[in-house]
């Protein structure tokens, strides 16, 4: 059936002079297709590395990769990027289709346990030992806990995040609060939030103090947990989780959240020049260390400070979250030694310090945190300290965490906006996630 094609093509060309693109297309057809890699002689071993970073973050990383390549003439790391938000879909399908690269950082910490338990990642314990490294010694506690799945190490981090609250000192002053003594307890936080909230005569918000969000993290503050670390069982209905959810709901009761949402829709998203915190429409903002570069860029004159998440009596103080991109070596990697050489180099204190300071993240490597670049900024001194807190929580080691985290978000939304019953919703979540985990485990053992 290919036979009539050329005839038809010429007929089309003859008869449709208006469609000028056809000759161009015909020429393109003759051009070589495919795009094999450049031929390299007896040259260095190629390590294909898929990175999870882009834009300036990509360029920062490229400089480090170039340096590695210079230092290691026997290995050539080729970095591939630009996956954007859909990157994980490419990664998922690459794993499914068995077409993974040698090293990748296109995996979120959320997904690590899921991939690790499915056996598609190389355990790194042996490599760490031979290179004289120790996960618990080298990395901050929260990150080390997050990287271990069922006792084995499946990935390493070059960056991590912290969670805290940033506040606007001018607004604090205006509201009669002490700008040098930010809240340390939940009660103080609630009081400060109330003091900073201003409404107009019609009851619409002009500014609000604080809108708490993120049940997944606040649950830890209230002493809760999502998975029992000892047994691996789902603990969605933990009393601490319920306390956190009830506290969040108290905000929904005190303020008309629908109005708050309408108010929120009038300003740009957080990390833009018109983010509510930058323009003074919100007094306190749940954020992380990366806020600094945005303040510098969008609101350089802002007088601001920060404080760790306040805790209720009996709760956990200095709670923070760990997460972000994780470096892994897929089990299908052909030259794991070369891949490890790169991974080992990149997660050493020096490159980590340079990478993190370049992109405005906190280093997960303890020694890197001591680097002078982080000591220059008051915020980073605070954030590096916070990242070392033992109350730092990364994704718990369950293969269903991406699902679980999304469902926690839905429960939170139902309570905050829909007025749902916290007890019933958490009980339902417990039932569904137990089921989901059971299913996943059955798949894994099969």
């Amino acid at each position: 059936m290919r036979r009539p094609a050329p005839a038809a093509a010429s007929a089309l060309r003859r008869r449709l002079p208006g469609l000028a693109w056809l000759p161009i297309a015909a020429v393109a057809l003759l051009a070589p297709v495919g795009c094999g890699r450049l031929a390299t002689g007896p040259a260095p071993k190629q390590v294909i590395y898929w990175t999870g970073w882009s834009a300036e973050e990509f360029n920062t990383q490229q400089r480090l990769v170039d340096e590695f390549n210079r230092e290691h003439p026997g290995i050539q790391v080729q970095m591939l990027s630009q996956f954007g938000n859909s990157g994980y879909q490419k990664v998922r399908i690459a794993f499914a289709g068995g077409a993974t690269p040698d090293v990748m950082s296109t995996i979120w910490a959320d997904e690590l346990a899921g991939y690790a338990m499915r056996g598609v990642l190389e355990p790194l314990d042996g490599y760490l030992k031979r290179s004289g490294r120790n996960l618990e010694r080298d990395f901050t506690p929260g990150v080390a806990r997050m990287l271990r799945v069922r006792g084995k190490v499946y990935g390493l981090c070059a960056t991590t995040n912290t969670s805290f609250i940033a506040y606007n000192k001018s607004i604090f002053r205006e509201a009669g609060l002490d700008p040098y003594h930010p809240p340390t307890t939940i009660a103080e936080l609630d009081a400060a939030a109330r003091a900073c909230t201003v409404s107009d005569r019609r009851g619409s918000f002009v500014r609000y103090g604080f809108r708490p969000g993120g049940l997944a993290l606040w649950a830890y503050v209230f002493g809760g947990q999502w998975v029992d670390p000892a047994t691996g069982h789902i603990t969605a209905d933990h009393p601490g989780n319920l306390a956190a959810l009830r506290w969040l709901a108290s905000y929904a009761k005190r303020y008309d959240l629908k109005k708050m949402q309408v108010f929120q829709s009038t300003f740009g998203s957080d990390q833009t020049a018109n983010g509510p915190f930058f323009v003074g429409k919100v007094a306190m903002w749940s954020t992380g260390e990366w806020a600094e570069q945005f303040v510098r860029r969008y609101a350089p004159d802002l007088e601001w400070g920060w404080f760790p998440l306040p805790a209720p009596p009996g709760g956990r103080t200095a709670c923070s979250s760990a997460g972000g991109s994780v470096f892994v070596i897929p089990a299908a990697c052909k030259d794991k030694e070369a891949a490890w050489t790169f991974l080992d180099w990149f997660t050493r204190p020096k490159p980590v310090a340079r990478f993190c300071s370049g992109i405005g993240n906190v280093p997960p490597v303890v020694e890197a945190g001591a680097d002078p670049v982080f000591q220059q900024s008051a915020l980073f001194r605070f954030a590096v300290n916070l990242s070392r807190s033992s109350n730092t929580f990364g994704p718990p080691g369950t293969p269903i965490w991406p699902t679980y985290a999304r469902e926690i978000g839905r429960v939170e939304e139902k309570v905050m906006l829909g007025g749902g019953d916290p007890v019933a919703l958490l009980a339902d979540l417990q039932r569904r996630m137990t089921r989901e985990q059971l299913d996943a485990m059955q798949d894994l053992s099969g």
Partner: protein
Amino acid sequence: MSRRRWLAALDALLSHGVLIAIGLLFFLPFYWLVATALKPDAQVFAMPPVWVPHPPQWRNFPRALTYVPFGLYTINTLRICALNVLGTVLACSLVAYSLAKVRWKGREWVFWSMLATMILPGQVTMVPTFTIFRSLHWIGTILPLVVPPFFGNAFSIFLLRQFFMTIPDELSDAARIDGCSDLGIYTRLILPLSKPALATVGLFAFIGSWNDFLGPLLYLNDERSYTLSIGLQRFVSQHGAEWSMLSAASAVMTVPIIIIFFLAQRTFIQGITLTGIKG
């Protein structure tokens, strides 16, 4: 008579009025895109919005176009597009001819098999499809993006079938009397009569592959073979995006589509005299 001319003028005036009024609404998104491309950071998300960037940041365009290898990506994308258009127009017109103009057993099956491929959500066939291309050793090449069009796609075949069905059978019967084969009828009768439809199908094939993100994302593994839609992702970082540059690159990316659309819709005017019904 002058009253009639006066009415015609009024009619034209009204037409332009309506066209411009609605046209302004339709022009808004594109204007916004270009305006965003020219805005300084602080104006991108301003509420209420900034309509005219001040001062316009013209350098956003050269910055965006040199941030990624724009020229190389354009050539890569154009090549994929050209092959898609060629394959789609050829294969789909052939198959549509079979479905519209030839009476044979099984054509209903072909028709419904075609619709079925569209009705089944692509998300669940993605992994097995990837497996096929992997066993063909096509991962990392543009072949998964340019070979399938030469086997036709449901959308275009169906569209051409609908157009071919409106061409009176008497025309092809007459050609048969003249000793014309089906291939002859197809090339000398059906194709010339279907210029607007073919242009439409070509246009959609071009736009489809020009904007395709998921295909190149899944199958290309080399920066040198990347397409523009993937290149745009370079402006989006983990914590935000370079909105102005992203918009500048996106605006430049729409230019070829506008040109192609302009070319394609020129055939919309010629169609009338060719239908063969009015001599």
